[in-house]
């Protein structure tokens, strides 16, 4: 596989490696249940980085809403969403990818943000306008990480 461009997310330290195969937020194919079968990048997700994105308040901040016993070293776990312990047993990778990319496709009207969505918002702050919360590779990394959460 050929790496064609390297984009730096504004202010972020992690460079995301976009390939010719990277699916743009508007082109993600959800099935009727809200799952996304194909990888967004074609590059295998890195669970170690996914774990960091999960807890980072400026990135996934998944811990704001979910309890995750794998991060018991972190003092505050939210309770807005279900506990994610064992979530890797409950869902297929394609379903987890769909949930992280845009949970509203699976859970109608959910409070959970769509992490790979860059349009259709109302009054987004200028510095975030036209951008998705996570990059395609960060979504893959988080999906790889939460797939490891088994009972």
């Amino acid at each position: 596989m050929k790496l064609t461009t390297i984009t730096f997310v504004a202010g972020a330290t992690i460079a995301s490696i976009a390939t010719a195969d990277t699916v743009a937020p508007g082109d993600v194919k959800f099935d009727e249940y809200g799952a996304v079968a194909a990888s967004l990048t074609g590059v295998a997700g890195d669970p170690a980085n996914g774990r960091k994105v999960f807890m980072n308040r400026k990135k996934g901040n998944c811990l704001a809403c979910h309890v995750n016993d794998d991060m018991s070293e972190q003092s505050f776990h939210g309770e807005v969403g279900p506990e994610l312990n064992g979530v890797g047993d409950r869902w297929e990778t394609a379903e987890l990818r769909g949930i992280v990319a845009n949970a509203k496709m699976m859970f109608d009207g959910t409070i959970m943000p769509g992490f790979y969505k860059d349009a259709g918002f109302n009054r987004t702050l200028k510095k975030f306008a036209g951008k998705s919360i996570l990059t395609a590779q960060e979504v893959e990394d988080v999906v790889a990480y939460i797939s490891t959460l088994k009972e």
């Binding site: 807005v80 943000p113 919360i133």
Partner: protein, 279 residues
Amino acid sequence: MKYNSITAIVAGLVVVSTSAFAGEDSVLTIEGQEFITQAAAPAHMENVDTIYSGWVFRTDETQALEMDDFDNPSFVFVEQAEELFETVDGSAGKACVSCHESPEAFAGLRAKMPRVNDAGELETLPELINGCRTERMGAEAWKWSGGQMSGMLALVGLQSRGDIVDVAIDGAAAPFFEKGKELYYTRVGQLDMSCANCHEDNYGNMIRADHLSQGQINGFPTYRLKNTKLNTIHGRFKGCMKNIRATPFKEGGEEFKALELYVASRANGLMVETPSVRN
């Protein structure tokens, strides 16, 4: 008087409620007066049965700070405002006290704000104060969320502490109420959330380190331990919008004024707690 029956309704709800939260049973007394911190929701609220003061959701330590005026850091600012009240400012050579004998003249006012005036305009407390400054004193308007304004808001609001919030939403207020309600339920920002997603659907839940309240404004201005100053209503709205990565509306603008009326009316039945303490 509806409050006797409300207590019974509330007691019934607690039994069936699945989302009872820590702090729900704490009792707020300030200077010997017991405060109503939970009440039956006003009829216009479709999705909530019981309304709670934000005080209920705070830690024991934060709660204690509001229970004694000597411990409540807001009173430093209230005292500064008492001085300002007597300070001459502007081309007319007047102070507030030249026309208003004492702050006590404003008893009851805070419980009914914001309100629609005879000209059909929605008016908020900062606008009334600035109106006196610019039109009657020949002085400059204070900044919406600046120290002088927030202090004066605390002093004026304190005169209604313990009064039942009773904001009018019908008649001339109806269009503002509807506009505010729409804003409350509209998703905004990159995180794509409405006020209701957090303060109606999830109060009582932790969102990372924060215990979500109903986002009530009956205690404003509020002293926050986080920024060690008095915070105004529109200042707080602005902060919540930025947190969900939305461009806030303008402080004092039509949107926030309508939202203020709507949010204020969601506390109809609670008591004015100005000046409150939060984290």
